[in-house]
Symmetry: C2
Subunit: 299 residues, 2 copies
């Protein structure tokens, strides 16, 4: 990999994705950028006696940025091409937080588990889990208003989606000049669902290139992998999120194949796969995936 | 594959999984059985002018059976080891049904699409989709009461889960003597979610062996693949189903690893993957999968 032209650090972080937020870095599309992100609790958890008693929306999920990508204008699409994610630390944390997580009714006391990272694996008791780092929070300035970095929505944000990993290209709408991207809240490993409310929280160094696709704005993030398009949606319930993701997929199928809404809906039922991203944030996030052999492009 | 010792046909079908239903066939554990299942609408759809205007709960999702497995007693576990699924027909149907499916608000008129099956693929327009048949409805007699075959619940039923395919072993609770299994409502291909309300509906011939695991009753179905355990749960909402599946996984992890509930919950968050089975039936079905390298057995 080439050396990055710019290294972006946690010198500046945001706790809200805000339509009016100011850029703190400025980069060119195509350049390799390194973004050094703190962990999702900004270093507040170091030992198992450090506990997280409640989600403090003012001091959690800080996202490094905002990054202004030159040439990105409202109506465009901004692609974050994630080339590599490195974990510059040999341990991570898993948290149980009262009133947080899928089974929050069962959590009376906060609990912290520190796990070692060794030889490409997380050690959990005597189990060894291969590292597969993902970016939990990544987004752009919204069209209007502001969203705490804990909240996922159409601007991205806390999507906690395992598919946002090295090799993925994440397509975002450009809502404000420069796009104003920010990211953080990484996990070294995490399952689909993030049921207890966290994966293995770690800092990461992301190596990425930004790409602008002019005039092809999307309503919401779409993840592109080598083989799939994944339409991401966040809503109050999983069912509501499923509907939005399905509608977005149907729109893309209709656009690309020129098929009727009904035919596209049928095809989405045969080869579209609804997947759970997270069920805890507190909006729910799903993605609906389709193999590129059935949908080569989304434009 | 050896020849089946028994061929079970649609001579007898059920429209309810009933605690008091009578067995129509009797088989021995270990024998290879062929079960010939009609399609999910029992042949009512033959052409694109045959339309399905409403889900008729009295004449849909008929399941072939009930099959009494000798030696299966309440408190046991019954495993259906699916060896092969063959499709004895060169076409299938996809339906849009008013007031049914994830985006039912958009469906004004019933619509039927007949698709050809050729050389191991479904032809959908000029797309060729590889056959991957699954059993939509499969279950046992419940502990009490009766469930229409359209409804998925703890006895199984209309789980519409793509993972119930050849090579899978599906573990069921034995609630009544003989287990009383029945199955049908197959799809030649289907995506996770079954969003439009159907996959490609076809008749199938299932080749399966039944196995009894004495005294190891489960609360709900679990799918075993070569590499995974998948804890299946159906409920009014996806969130509620996710909770049940996660609780079942935590219980198995605690049982097998001797870990605390909290540790098991954390592990489930790191390596457990919540997956959507279907969002339309009208209860929702999910499964939570864990690699056997993290959970070699469930007992």
């Amino acid at each position: 990999m080439h050396r990055p032209t710019t290294i972006i650090t946690s010198e500046h972080v945001i706790y809200h994705f805000d339509a009016t937020m100011e850029a703190k870095w400025r980069v060119k599309a195509g350049d390799l950028i390194e973004i050094r992100c703190p962990d999702g609790v900004h270093g507040q958890i170091r030992t198992e006696t450090d506990r997280y008693k409640a989600v403090d929306y003012d001091h959690v999920n800080d996202a490094v940025g905002p990054i202004f990508v030159e040439g990105a204008e409202p109506g465009d699409r901004l692609v974050v091409d994630i080339r590599d994610i490195q974990i510059p630390q040999n341990w991570g944390y898993v948290l149980l937080i009262p009133n947080f997580g899928l089974l929050k009714g069962n959590i009376e006391d906060a609990k912290t588990k520190i796990v070692a990272i060794q030889d490409g694996h997380v050690n959990f008791g005597n189990l060894r889990i291969p590292l597969d780092p993902c970016i939990g929070t990544i987004g752009v300035a919204p069209i209007e208003g502001r969203y705490n970095t804990v909240i996922p929505f159409d601007h991205g944000g806390n999507m906690d989606t395992t598919a946002i990993r090295a090799g993925a290209r994440v397509h975002f709408p450009v809502n404000q000049v420069g796009g104003l991207i920010a990211m953080g809240d990484a996990k070294a490993v995490m399952g689909d669902g993030e049921v207890c409310g966290t994966g293995v929280g770690v800092p990461i160094n992301v190596f990425a290139r930004f790409e602008i696709i002019k005039g092809k704005r999307l309503p919401r993030p779409i993840i592109e992998t080598a083989t799939e398009w994944q339409f991401v949606a966040s809503a109050e319930t999983l069912e509501a999120a499923c509907k939005v993701a399905n509608e977005d997929m149907i729109a893309a199928i209709s656009r690309v194949h020129g098929s009727s809404w009904e035919e596209a809906y049928m095809l989405s039922s045969l080869v579209g796969n609804l997947r759970i991203s997270q069920v805890v944030d507190p909006l729910m996030t799903v993605r609906m995936a389709i193999d590129k052999k059935y949908l080569p492009t989304i434009d």
